[in-house]
């Protein structure tokens, strides 16, 4: 979501620090996973707001490795697919990207995604449908055809 690995690492740290400090206590509304992602998502939005004031560093490489358990034989294909996925995800508008990553990558339920994003389930479904269609077309050009 942040498209910057250093910011993403800072976000993970900030998220767990907030939990440790009790500054965003779990109230029992929604799932624990949804609560955790919600803190992270809000933190990401804050970072994005701040970052909009300065242009992104285009020279900073994205060096997080892709999580695959592929054999050596299939690892090249897995890497190609992962790279294409990552590129297509980055090309999604911010709101669609969040819905897609939370639902289809992180595999949260629709109600949990709604909890994280602070929107209704029907809005989640709408964003997800648009994100999947954009991703499908984008990856179709790169992979399926």
């Amino acid at each position: 979501m942040l498209r910057d690995r250093h910011l993403a690492e800072d976000l993970v740290q900030d998220t767990f620090l907030k939990i440790l400090r009790g500054s965003a206590p779990y109230t029992g509304d929604g799932s624990l996973a949804g609560w955790l992602y919600r803190i992270g998502y809000n933190g990401a939005l804050d970072m994005l707001r701040r970052r909009r004031e300065t242009p992104p560093d285009a020279t900073a490489p994205e060096t997080w490795t892709v999580a695959t358990e592929a054999s050596a034989e299939s690892s090249v294909m897995a890497m190609v697919l992962a790279e294409a996925l990552d590129t297509a995800i980055q090309e999604l508008p911010e709101t669609l990207r969040a819905a897609f990553v939370l639902r289809d990558v992180e595999e949260l339920s629709t109600s949990e995604v709604a909890q994280v994003l602070g929107i209704g389930e029907s809005a989640v479904k709408m964003r997800l449908a648009r994100a999947r269609e954009q991703m499908r077309v984008s990856l179709g050009d790169r992979l399926w055809n």
């Binding site: 740290q13 620090l17 992962a82 995800i89 289809d104 595999e107 479904k125 997800l128 399926w144």
Partner: protein
Amino acid sequence: MELTCESLGALLPEMIDGRLSKEEEMGAATHLATCENCRLIVDETNQLRIAAREHGRVEMPDEACARIRVSLEAEQARG
């Protein structure tokens, strides 16, 4: 239940999540049997879901995990 390309498209999210009713499933199967374009869209969207689940995650580098662990332990020590 007769489905058009448009009505199948509206059902696509539920179809991909495996949440169609029996009647909708039958209607979708009938339509897909004769519509190559919709079949392609459904196949590609299914592939996308599988790819996202299996290859969409990234792992944080070990040094970043270690740095965060140290930071959290320091916070805990401060009470």
